[in-house]
């Protein structure tokens, strides 16, 4: 397989996942905007969308003051913002186009139709009341693509690279969202006020995990430490860091078997995986949650860089 093909499969999945994540961030902020004021900064949730997507600085440069209208436009439709849903869907599709020969027609049709239909939407005509439905549609389309991928692609190295892009992006997103409001998880601020409760459920909502959380912690009401544990160490939670690295580590083992030699990226993944598998929340809080999340993000990125070098991504 060409190094560029591997790279395109990786980034195709990464941007597809990114578009979905951004849609969920916007959806959660949208909900908050509909609730009575929680005594916090009214722009707070819109700021958290930007922070969760890593776009705060770019937004300030281009748009300035944070507002609902500004953030929605910037994160949904702005063509100059490389992380907007518009740009993510376009980049995902361009990567898919450049590996048309490496993906199935089901995958191509899913990604292509999403792009065509998204491009047909005129931002000015998208009224407020249609926004939640539109964001849900983006999520549904992402599920369709993922389903097409899992259901049709050959289980060779191409499958591995597309899985890696998907889970590297997902792990990055989860860590980043937790880090944007890490203090609300800290045990000594865990006082359970309305504002905190709202923040926890909002993060769970961003992770599509509100309902699953109640099954994972049946005896407890929503508590910061538990939410943090759920999203970092609980392997059964499909967006947790531990779950992402279960996949990444397993996929690296597949690649190693496929090519017949073990490369440094596989060892890097194994170290991160082991840390998440044996880690405890007590240790993480002791050493500092913010420090842990920052360190994780750096190592996750370093893994992706090493992977690209090991397999000659172009």
């Amino acid at each position: 397989m060409l190094g560029r093909t591997a790279s395109s499969l990786f980034w195709m999945s990464r941007y597809q996942e990114r578009a979905h994540n951004t849609a969920r961030l916007l959806d959660a902020a949208w909900r908050t905007a509909m609730l009575p004021a929680l005594g916090t900064d009214p722009a707070g949730d819109w700021r958290s969308v930007l922070a969760g997507a890593g776009c705060e600085a770019a937004y300030k440069d281009k748009v300035g003051e944070i507002s609902q209208r500004g953030v929605v436009q910037f994160m949904l439709f702005d063509k100059t913002n490389p992380s907007s849903i518009h740009s993510s869907l376009e980049t995902a599709r361009n990567n898919a186009r450049s590996v048309r020969t490496g993906i199935t027609s089901d995958m191509w049709e899913a990604i292509n139709t999403t792009w065509i239909e998204f491009s047909d939407v005129k931002p000015q005509t998208l009224s407020q009341d249609r926004m939640p439905e539109f964001l849900a549609w983006i999520g549904q389309r992402a599920h369709l693509f993922r389903g097409a991928l899992l259901g049709t692609i050959l289980r060779d190295d191409g499958y591995s690279f597309s899985q890696l892009g998907h889970f590297v992006e997902r792990a990055d997103h989860t860590a980043r969202v937790l880090d944007t409001r890490y203090w609300i998880f800290l045990p000594d601020t865990d006082v359970g006020g309305n504002a905190h409760h709202h923040h926890w459920t909002s993060i769970l909502r961003v992770m599509s995990g509100l309902r699953s959380y109640r099954f994972a912690f049946p005896d407890s009401r929503v508590k910061g430490v538990n939410v943090a544990e759920f999203l970092i160490l609980r392997r059964e939670m499909p967006r947790s860091l531990a779950h992402c690295y279960d996949w990444i580590n397993g996929t690296m083992a597949d690649l190693t078997a496929f090519y017949g030699d073990e490369l440094p990226s596989a060892a890097q993944a194994a170290v991160i995986h082991e840390q998440l598998r044996t880690g405890s929340m007590r240790d993480i809080f002791d050493s500092g949650l913010h420090e842990f999340l920052t360190d994780f993000t750096l190592r996750n990125n370093a893994f992706a860089d090493r992977l690209a070098r090991d397999y000659n991504f172009a």
């Binding site: 060409l2 190094g3 048309r100 027609s105 090519y259």
Partner: protein, 474 residues
């Protein structure tokens, strides 16, 4: 020729009686309920759009990918017609390849005074870098798309020999697929020569021209400029159908005189490159230094004989519009036979007499840029306004050597689905030829159709459509 403006109708002939090849189709068309073709057309469009069978239009920022309109009524050629056409094409492509070999070696055709030396040596499409080099099997142009038009029952003219990087073959194949899906009954009524083995023949052709000493299972790839190229869909389609890698320049590099692909693990040596980028972009070390599309050092590897490039660099001289007028001479010179297929009479504006005639008759003729393509930079006299003609006159006079002119031909018409039902529309035809260890001509080709009433412009960049082309077997 301007006198015979009678349009030949391929279904109804000159006397209005249905021609035999179209008899069954005509009956079938009459049986279909109203609105049937409209429905089928919409169905086809959905298929094309979903699959992304598109071409890119340069300069149009928003809708950069467009569908080529598809017409659901096939164009039909009888076995006899096809035999004659394919014999003519065979003769023509062999002569053109012999011509290419000659002008890059002994130049006997120039010495014999059959073609002016300046026309070759001063031509931008002539590559001095190719002089003295002989490609594998002496083949220069491996993939040729010959553009034909018909003006009467037995009158076919060659409009253009596309010897560089002809496109459209993916539409030929997809049109057939779509037709077979939509109209199985029509196929059962006819014996239509199959075309779906084209990718296999292309692969055989490319394998057959691998460098001497290449491995028995040579590594082939298609070199594309990338996803923004107008024919990108076709590049991906052919790579997929042949089971070879679709590469961009950055995926290849030259080391130790050989060309290598960057793979996820060990580099892989490439034996044959079917390139879909122009000569000037192939190798920044030999040609345009600023080009990012090509592969540095590729041309040296090519000249060293470690890799075959299809089509060979410098083949453009064979389909240069200024050379076109000499193709009948070229055929006679290399084959010793009369051309089976006619050229369209052509005025070469670099000749003063020809230019004078052209300037006097701008309203009745077609003027084309020598190096233009895609229907750009041309004047179609009969449909142009007075002002357009006046403006074009200025351009033409400022640089006459850049233009040729031809009479407007009364292109034949085929039944076509239009808003009001079925009506005749002008067509041309591009059959696809493969030249390697043998000459392989796929029965049929791409029929392009002018969808506007009376229009002669069939080019897809200018809003023309396509239809499936059937060659009936005996």
């Amino acid at each position: 020729m301007a006198a015979e403006r009678v349009v030949f109708n391929e279904m109804l002939g000159t006397d209005g009686a249905v021609r035999p090849a179209y008899a069954r189709l005509n009956e079938w068309l009459e049986r279909q309920p109203k609105g049937f073709l409209t429905r089928k057309n919409r169905e086809a469009e959905t298929i094309f759009r979903r699959l992304g069978i598109t071409f890119a239009v340069y300069g149009a920022q928003e809708a950069t990918e467009r569908l080529i309109p598809f017409d659901p009524i096939p164009r039909i050629l009888s076995a006899g017609e096809w035999r004659r056409l394919s014999a003519g094409i065979d003769q023509r492509v062999r002569a053109l390849n012999a011509f290419l070999h000659d002008i890059y070696h002994r130049q006997e055709i120039i010495r014999a005074g059959r073609i002016p030396a300046d026309l070759i040596m001063q031509n931008a499409a002539f590559l001095p870098e190719m002089v003295g080099f002989t490609p594998a099997r002496r083949v220069y142009s491996h993939i040729i798309g010959t553009d034909l038009v018909r003006v009467g029952e037995n009158d076919f003219y060659v409009l253009e020999d596309n010897t560089r990087t002809p496109s459209g073959v993916s539409y030929m194949l997809e049109n057939r697929e779509t037709m077979m899906r939509m109209f199985p009954d029509l196929f059962q009524m006819h014996r239509v020569a199959p075309i779906e083995h084209y990718p296999e023949l292309l692969r055989q052709t490319l394998e057959s021209v691998a460098p001497e000493g290449a491995k028995s299972d040579p590594t082939i790839c298609i070199l594309t400029p990338g996803i923004y190229n107008s024919a990108y869909f076709e590049h991906a389609f052919l790579a997929d159908q042949m089971g070879v890698e679709l590469v961009e320049g950055r995926d290849l590099y030259v080391d130790n005189g050989k060309v290598w692909m960057r793979t996820t693990r060990k580099p892989k040596q490439v034996d044959v490159i079917y390139r879909r980028i122009d000569d000037a972009f192939l190798d920044p070390l030999t040609f345009r230094p600023e080009s990012m599309l090509g592969v540095p050092g590729l041309f040296d590897a090519y000249r060293a004989g470690t890799v075959t490039i299809c089509n060979a660099p410098g083949t453009g001289i064979a389909d240069d519009k200024a050379i076109y007028a000499y193709v009948p001479d070229i055929i006679e010179f290399y084959t010793g036979q009369k051309p089976i297929l006619n050229n369209v009479p052509t005025w070469n504006c670099s000749r003063p007499d020809d230019l004078a005639y052209v300037l006097d008759n701008l309203a009745d003729i077609v003027v084309k840029e020598v190096h233009g393509s895609g229907g750009y930079g041309m004047l179609i006299g009969p449909t142009a306004s007075k002002r357009e003609i006046a403006a074009f006159r200025e351009i033409l006079m400022s640089n006459p050597t850049n233009y040729i002119a031809q009479p407007t031909l009364a292109l034949s018409a085929c039944p076509t689905h239009v808003a009001s039902g079925v009506a005749p529309r002008h067509v041309d035809l591009r059959p696809f030829v493969l030249i390697g260890d043998q000459v392989r001509i796929t029965p049929g080709g791409l029929t392009r159709v002018a969808l506007k009433k009376g229009s002669l412009v069939v080019n897809s960049s200018q809003g023309g459509g396509t239809k499936d082309t059937w060659v009936l077997e005996d």
